[in-house]
Structures are given as C-alpha cells and as structure tokens.
C-alpha cells in the first residue's frame, strides 16, 4: 500500500514539460472553446500534467461595474456573498465539500473581473466540482441578516490594509486622476460606501441579476481530465442558468487638460512615496498603442534601465522604482511609482521621470535594448506556465479582457512588431504634462 501511494505521489509530482519557446506561439497549449445557448463560454485546456485540475469561473464584473454613486466596492463585497451557499447546499455544506476535497480555493476581485478558483487533485472529483459550483452560481441564496454579518468583514479588510501607505497613495491617485469613469475608486471602495454595505441587500440582488449571469461569465478549466466528459457535465449542470442581457455602459472619461497634483500626509513616520499617472489606452491585441507602451515600461523604467540604475543603485535616492501599465478593458492609467529615502528628494525624482519621458519623445530606444525586452517578456511568460495552476491563473488575467484565450498569442505577436519609432510616437501621444497627475505621500521625519 505504501509503495502504491509513493508511486502515485511520484507521478503526481512530475511536472509537465511545456513546449514553450520552441513553439511559434507564446501560449503553446491547445485550447477548446465552446459556448452554451445561454451564452456561457467554456475554455478547456486538457493537459498531460497528472492529477491536478484548475477550475476558474471568471465573472466579467469588477469595480469597473460600480457606476452608481454610493456603490463603490460592491463587486468585491458580492464576491464575499458568493460563499454563502444555496438552499440545496447551505454555506456549511459547501465549506465541508471544499474541506473534504482539500482544494486550494478562493476568490479575488479586480477592476474588471471577479474570479473564483478551485484547484484540486483527482479527475474523479470533476463532476462534483462542476455540479457544486454551478449550483452556487445559479442558485446562490442569502438573507438580509447574512449580508449584514458579512458587510463588517469588508470593514475589517479595509482596516487590515489601513496601515499600508501604498494603498492610500493609489487611492488618492485614482480619485484625483479620474472625473467620471468608475476606475476613480479602488476595488475595496470608499470607506463611507463600505460602512453603508449592511443596508444594501436589495441592491445586492440587482447586482447579482445584472452580472452573475452566463452571458457575463467564462468557465476556464485546465488540467488532467477528458474534454468531452467536462462538456457533458457543463451542459448537464449549467444549461438552466438564465441570461441577463444587461449591457453595462461605463461613463466615458473626458480628456484631462490640466496637470493635477495631490499630497497625502501620513500620520506617522514612513518612507516618502511618489506616483505619477497619465491617462493611457485600454488593452488591445490589435492596436499598437498599449503594446508599445508595455515595451517602453520595460526599456526605460525596469530594473535594467538607466534611470532605475541611477536613482536606486548609483545615487541611492530611491528604495524602489517602477512603471506599471496595467491591462484594463477601458482606458487606464500609466503609472510611475517610487519609494524614496528622503522627503526632500521627492521633487528631484519627479523631475527625473519627466525628464526621461521628454528624452524618450526625442530619442528612439535602441534596437538592441528592444530585443532584450522582448526576450525578457518571453522568458517571464514561459516561467509562469510551469504548473497547471500557473497556466490557468495566467490565462484568467487575459481571458477577462477579450474573452478570447488566443489574445495572448496575438499580444505577443504584436510585441514583435513594435519598433523604436512606435515607442517614440506613443511617448509623444500619451506623456503630456497636461495629462498627468502627481501624488506624493510622506509622514514623520524622513532621512
């Protein structure tokens, strides 16, 4: 018996051998896409990796969907409510099911989507997982009292993050930079809206009806299973889910025409921080803008860039320094973020970033540097695909943007086409002073 268990474990521990980088496609795995009549999209990636199955449900609703006043943070709050069970399988039974399964499970909410994952061992458990999760998404049930109990947990989560200056810095940036669009607030939401969550039972039902529907959902499964069997289960358990047909219209953000600034006074001694945000483009695997900007972030602001080396390694003014151009469905911020040692250097570092952006508008980056960046992106992506769950979790981030898993390969093809001139053009297009918002944070005596 012991030998048998050891043998099973040995097989289980074998990793897949991804044919990455030899393939012309950055995402080398075959995937199958099927759409049910009710609009539920299923992306299936059967793998040779033994034993493990990753089951992801992606609801294309995040804080971006919180377009009504007083409702900031609601997508995240609703993620919590999704763990309350159904009439057939109340919360306690659902928890027991996951416990016995020994699954790695959780949910997370982003600006654009909310994701629920169950990572488990054993293809014999697949049907039960599909059945249980379908029941949860179709028949979620909670009463007002359960909502009132869960709402203060969000307040607790807010308090858990309250000692993080970085969170306050980005909250301030988004609030200042956006006027209309729901990217104005973070996924956690404003404290005043969090405190009002216990009173939002009726709105929560409306939120569910609008967004927790098959035509707003992608089911992503990767790992050790038979695709036909998967689809048999999906049809069996998900066909009764009714469409929503709700079309969200996010408010259009007007162009920013004057430079903005804000300062956050931290109540105790902390390291000073700086963030500069510019309104940028939405994610696209067709238009060159975002791809070129992604490469710019790497060529000119990554750890190997001259500016990073100057500010962090040589002059040692900054402890950390980076650029982040996140992928979002709607136009989002291109941000430059630094943590400094001395408050007096805040304006110097700010000037250095603007100076570098001005230089990049005039001087194209070298072809050699661009090749190094493309190499980095390929190897970074390949490293992330080392496990079944690595494959599923990486793909979930892309799949929410366009609903097409092929977008990863399209994006990397686009990276290949980006030229130094493209990067220069995008610098000129987006990095205008009038399009910028600068936020600083400091507190106590800094040295």
């Amino acid at each position: 018996m012991t030998k048998f268990i050891s043998a099973v474990l040995s097989i289980f521990l074998l990793l897949s051998i991804p044919p990455m980088l030899q393939s012309s496609k950055i995402f080398p795995y075959d995937f199958k896409i099927e759409v049910l009549d009710n609009g539920l999209k299923v992306v299936s990636i059967p793998l040779d990796n033994p034993h493990i199955i990753s089951h992801y449900i992606i609801i294309r609703s995040g804080s971006r969907n919180e377009i009504e006043p007083g409702k900031s943070g609601f997508a995240h709050f609703f993620e919590h409510m999704m763990f309350k069970g159904t009439k057939d399988m109340p919360k306690e039974a659902y928890d027991d099911f996951l416990t016995k399964l020994g699954a790695g499970t959780n949910g997370y909410t982003t600006d654009d989507y909310t994701c629920y994952f169950v990572v488990f061992a054993g293809r014999e458990n697949l049907e039960e997982v599909i059945k249980t999760e379908a029941d949860r998404f179709i028949n979620l049930y909670y009463d007002e009292e359960m909502l009132k109990t869960e709402a203060p947990v969000i307040e607790g989560e807010y308090y858990a993050s309250v000692s993080s200056p970085g969170r306050r810095l980005f909250e301030t940036l988004r609030d200042k930079a956006y006027v209309k669009h729901s990217y104005k607030h973070t996924t956690l939401g404003y404290l005043k809206d969090i405190l009002d969550m216990p009173n939002q039972y009726e709105y929560s039902q409306l939120f569910k009806k609008r967004f927790y529907a098959p035509d707003n959902t992608i089911l992503l499964v990767a790992g050790d299973y038979d695709h036909d069997r998967l689809m048999e289960y999906v049809h069996r358990y998900y066909s009764g889910w009714e469409k929503s047909n709700y079309a969200l219209v996010t408010p259009e953000e007007p162009p920013q025409t004057t430079a903005k600034r804000a300062h956050y006074d931290w109540p105790s001694k902390t390291l000073p921080q700086l963030v500069i945000g510019f309104h940028g483009p939405a994610y696209s695997d067709e238009k060159i803008d975002k791809a070129a900007l992604d490469l710019l972030a790497e060529t000119s602001f990554s750890r190997s860039s001259p500016l990073y080396q100057k500010l962090v390694i040589e002059e040692q003014k900054c402890l950390s320094f980076n650029a982040s151009f996140a992928d979002r469905r709607d136009p989002y911020l291109l941000t430059f973020n630094a943590t400094l040692k001395d408050e007096e250097d805040l304006s110097y570092v700010e000037q250095e970033i603007f100076k570098e952006l001005e230089r990049l508008k005039k001087e194209p980056v070298s072809e050699e540097l661009l090749a190094e960046i493309k190499s980095n992106l390929k190897y970074s992506f390949a490293s992330a695909l080392g496990t079944t769950d690595g494959i599923a979790s990486v793909l979930a981030q892309y799949i929410n943007l366009t609903t097409d898993p092929g977008t990863v390969n399209k994006l990397f093809d686009l990276f290949e086409k980006v030229t130094p001139e493209d990067i220069q053009n995008m610098c000129q297009k987006y990095f205008k002073k009038t399009n910028s918002t600068v936020v600083t944070l400091s507190g106590g005596n800094t040295k």
Binding site: L15, L21, G102, K148, T149, G156, G386, T446
Partner: protein, 510 residues
Amino acid sequence: MRNQTKFFLTGLLVLIIAFANFSCSQASPDKLKCELIPREGNPLISFRILLHIGSVNDPAGKEGLCALTLSMMASGGSQSLTYKEIQKKFYPMATYIGLSVEKEMSVFTGTVHADNLEKYYAIFKDVLLDPGFREDDFTRIKTNQLNFLERTLVSNMDEQFGKEILNLLMYEGQPYGHHEAGTLESLAKLTLADIRAFYAEHFLQGNITIGIIGGYPSDFPDKVMEDFSALPEGHTPPISLPEQRMPRGIEIVIAEKNTPATAMSMGFPVSLSKADDDYFALWIAVSHFGEHRQHLSLLFQKIREERGQNYGDYAYADHFIQGRRKFPAQNHCRQQQYFSIWIRPLKNSNRHFALRQALFELKKLVEEGIPEERFEMTRTYLLNYTRLYAQTLGEILGWKMDSRYYGYKDFLAEVQRRLPKITHEDVNRAIKKYLNYENIYIALITQDAKSFKNALVNNTPSPITYAGPKPEEILEEDKVYQVFPLDVKPENVRIAQATSFFQKTGVPEK
C-alpha cells in the same frame, strides 16, 4: 578475458556512478551536500542553495549581520561584475537571485530557462563564491535594512509587526530573540569588515546543501559541486539553544500607535516539530482550530463568519511562512517551535471581545478536544490539501530538502502514510500534552494602550454590537465571551511606543 574486461568496465561504471552520487550522501559534516532532482526535458531549472546558518549566528551586538551578508550576495555584485552589470545580464533571461534568511536556515533561490542555464549559473556561482562586497552596495543594502525596520515594519505592516513582537516576547534574551534584520543600533555599527569576516567564518562547505531540479544536463551537478568545493571545508556547529521559556500566566506586550484597528498575535513554545510522531496528531488539531486562510478554521468561523469582525483568524502548530498562494513556504526549519494564533486587524472597540473569544475557544479545545466528525473531516482535508503543496519545481525541491532536515525521505509522502493511522484519541492526547490556555504570550498593536490594559486587568465586560439582528445562539454565546475572565496581572502587561521597537534587542521598556 572478455568477461573480465566487461566485469572491470561494469565495476568502473558502478564506481563512477557511486562517485558521482558520493557528494550527495556525504557523511562528513565538513563537506558539501546536495539534493538533485532531474526532470529530463523540462525547460526550467530551479536552484536552492540552502545554508544551515541564520540569525542565530549573528554575534552579540551585531544582530542583522547574517541577513546583511547574504543580501550583499543576492542584491550586490561579484568580484567580476557590479550589481548594475548583473541586473543588465539577468534582464533578458527574466531571472534573479532570491534570498530568505530565517533563524537557523537561509536559502538562495533562482529559476532559469534551460536556454540560459550556462550564462545564469556563471553569475550565480560568482556572486556566491566570489562576492564583490563593495562599499556602494553595502551602503545601499544596509540603508534598506534600516529603513525596513524603522519605517516599514513598524509603520506600515501591523500584521507582520504583531508576529515579530510575539517572537521578541517569546524568545527574550535568547538566540531567536531578535529580528533577522537586526536592530537599528546594531546595524548602524556594522562595517564591511564584519561582512567579510562573517562570510569567511560561515561560508563553509559543510554549511551548504546544493539543491537543483529540472531539465539540467546530466553532467551539470558535478560541475556545480566541483565549483562549490573551492570553499573551505568545515561547518558552523549548531547553536545550543537554551530551554524555551514558557510564559508565566498571560504575558502581554502592547505596541502603542494611532490606529483604528488592533492587530493581535499570541502563542507559546512547543517542544515538538515535524520530526516528531506527535506532530501529525497536533497538526490535525491545530488545522481544525485555525487552518491558515481556510473556511475550515474554527476561529475563522467564530470571529469572521458568524460575527463579521475581521478578515480572518488562524492558528499554527509550528513556525509558518506563507509561500505561493496560501501554501506554506519551505526552508525555514529550526530546532525550536511554537504554537501561535493570528487574529487579523479588527476595530479597536472589538479588541477585548475578540481576544476573549480566541482564548475561550482555545480553553474549550484544550478541555474538550476536537469533535469526532471534525477530526475525520480535518484529516481528510489535510490528506488532500497537502497533495497540492508541491507544484512548482522550487516547491518540490524545497519540500525534499526540508524532508532531509526532519529525517524523512519525503515528508509529503510521510503525511499520506501517517495521517490515516492517527486516531481521534491521538489528537486529543496531543492537545492535552502540548496546548494550554493559561500560559500564553500576547502581542498587541493598538491605541489607548493604558485603557485597554485597565480593561484587561479588571476583566471589564466587553459586549459587542452588530449592524443587524443575530440568531439567539450567537447572542447567547456572546454573553459568555464578553465576560470570559482572563487572569491578567498588571505587572505582566508591558506598554511601549510602536516606534521604540527594534531600536535595540528585546522588548523596549517604553
């Protein structure tokens, strides 16, 4: 003759194989050890260079020296390349050198694609065997370490800060009793000469286990072992640790700061580790009581799910560091272990209630044990959940190396073998033997510390209020929690300003 030749060649082959493996099964404590896991065809290779040294090897007055020395390698240059040049070379390979420094174990980590193995290893090797120890790297890294203690840990990381205070309190005056990063006082005095001396004293073959996993060429490990054999033979004798000091009653330290939320960590030493038979039984009990970030946790159910007080509440049978996702990290093994409870920040008005609640539930666990159905469920959970522990190459290698430390061939396989044999009685016996609720260290970060101290000492009732109606059974339970007496003696509650921590070793006086 032909047969003799064949016999001779076979014998030679056996000898070659034996020699090739000899280095991994070294009997001498003064020579290199290794852990090799080939995965033919896998495009990635992961390294773990495990050092059997940590912050316990910091000389008195030079706390933080081990972390600073190893950081000078992971985040500094080699003799032939500056840190800037290394970053430039690593960048196209999308790789780096990671470092973790703990009490008695430290580890350098790295993962690289097979295309870049040679280029990466050349730098990795130089950084470890021929470190640059330059003045500008020293200034930068030391300042980072100082800033982490003074402005990040104390100011911005209350959850971690609480865990570190618990460590200071639990190991006061002992080799574990300082933060791995040191103190502001000790760091200020450290010099490059100290770094060089620490490296010369401890970077010895016998202190190192070379771990490699992935699709490496078959002759690669021999090359690595040969390179690292250039280090002097020898080893640092394991520190002889004093007996762990059990708390006398409830011993509390409050770090005071302006904050809307209170962070709590509490615990006490336990005299067992993963190497012990009893560990598996205690693990089931503690997993039931507070499995890390899982609904299974009883504390999570009581404090968060039923009452919505905070984001989560957990307990640990031994030192726990979160790795990928919510799984445990590896390579922080140590001789002495402790049981702990982590209550995530909750609003100050609920701090007394939640503290009482956690200790009441601990008392109940100690006195009543774990219910039969929860025992069965938790055991099933652990059997299945631990099958997910080792997924990445680094995790597989890390668990294998930890297995060696605890005396197993494969700890995760041992879990599958041992857990089914554990009985309900074993678990309840382990609870009685290792856990208690009367002698416990408690670390708190909160405001109005004096008024909290008074409330604790006087056992002032601490009722809780809710935004909406609650079931009768919860309200009845609350009536018990809110007056649950804690035997807190005024002389056992110390209050210090949060900013005064980590200035010197130990718990600050004010």
